[in-house]
Amino acid sequence: MELKVIENATCTFCGCVCDDIELHADDVRIHQAKKACVLGKSWFLNHTAEKKYPDALIDGQPASLDEAIEVAANHLYEADMPLVYGMSNTTCEAQKECVAMADLLGALLDSHTSL
């Protein structure tokens, strides 16, 4: 099968955020990450498009995404002092959603920086 080539892809494994990576991928996994360092290579090659995990887990049991969103929203809404934390290995677009959610929730909001 012909591999799809992505030029100038960006690696978000570390703070260098190198944007000159050449990725060779099929539908399921990335086979090559040219120019990436050893950490970047394993970052790219270890993620796949396989369905390895259930969509969601509620109390350890597989659940649907819709159920999980409902339960998550419920916990956050009911809490007196919810915390929104992390936001490192994710996109800016998701981070903006996190800040918007924390704003609505009246939550504590924090990232890795505070460590």
Binding site: A79, D80, M81, L105, G106
Partner: protein, 274 residues
């Protein structure tokens, strides 16, 4: 003397922000107004009487009872009257305080008297970090008044303080007097490391030997008169500074040379007994 007495009846699950509990506010409030005044349990606004039993009204003297270690901002920006707590209290006790008196018969959290400019705070137990300090980014911490802690305290005591006095009877952790601009810190039982780091001016007096930053220089031993004057001023607050030249003297260090600063650290040294 009339008082407003608050007894904690319901433990907060998360933090309870209760900046309304100040003599300035309660002096004007009826019993009903105090009961219905707003406190923040995390993100929720609740009536004060959901957490406290309230006795009394319209008084500038407040007495609190209970384990209030999650109750924050007590006595915030108060200018008069008194606030006495029997039990532990949470963070920001007396922050931005301008006058009046606070006495805690228990422990207090971090930022006791942060950025205060007048009045007196006495913590009978231990205090947390940043006693009399500046909040992150502020140019100056404590600007006046006096803080006495009978127990120990955490890091950054008097960080960026400009004026006033802090007396910690117990020991303190790192960075006491960090970036100090003026005022006096007295350390009864010494400190961990980096005392006086980056200080510009001001005085730190330690009654026990302490490790100093490598950027301080020794400038002699002395029994300065101002110590005796100071000791007299502090006496009514239950603090005394030794200055009997028969018993010992102060080693004087100046720095922090990295600034370069003109702060001084005086370390009391008893004469060796022959």
């Amino acid at each position: 003397m009339s008082e407003v007495i608050l007894r904690l009846k319901q433990d907060p699950v998360v933090t309870l922000e209760a900046e309304v509990i100040t003599p300035d506010k309660f002096a004007e409030m009826s019993h009903e107004q105090i009961c219905e005044s707003i406190v923040y349990h995390g993100k929720r606004q609740l009536r004060l009487d959901e957490f406290f039993e309230v006795e009394g009204e319209k008084s500038e003297h407040i007495v609190l009872h209970g384990d209030m270690h999650r109750v924050r901002h007590l006595g915030r920006a108060m200018t008069m009257g008194s606030l006495t707590a029997h039990g532990d209290v949470g963070m920001h006790l007396g922050a931005h305080m301008k006058g009046g008196e606070i006495c805690i018969r228990g422990n207090a959290g971090d930022w006791v008297g942060a950025e205060m400019s007048g009045g007196k705070i006495h913590v009978r137990g231990e205090a947390g970090q940043q006693v009399g300090a500046a909040y992150r980014g502020s140019l100056a911490g404590m600007k006046g008044g006096i803080i006495i802690v009978d127990g120990s305290a955490g890091i950054e005591v008097g960080m960026r303080m400009k004026r006033g006095t802090i007396f910690i009877r117990g020991s303190v952790k790192d960075f006491a007097g960090l970036q100090m601009i003026g005022g006096t810190i007295i350390l009864g039982e010494g400190a961990e490391i980096r005392t006086g780091a980056w200080m510009q001016r001001g005085t730190i007096i330690s009654l026990k030997p302490i490790d100093l930053m490598p950027t301080f220089g020794e400038s002699g031993v002395m029994n300065p008169t101002f110590i005796s004057v100071y000791s007299n001023l502090l006496k009514p607050h239950g603090c005394e500074l030794p200055n009997d030249q028969n018993l010992g003297c102060y080693r004087r260090f100046s720095g922090d040379r990295s600034v370069p600063g003109k702060g001084e650290i005086l370390i009391w040294q008893e004469h060796a007994l022959n």
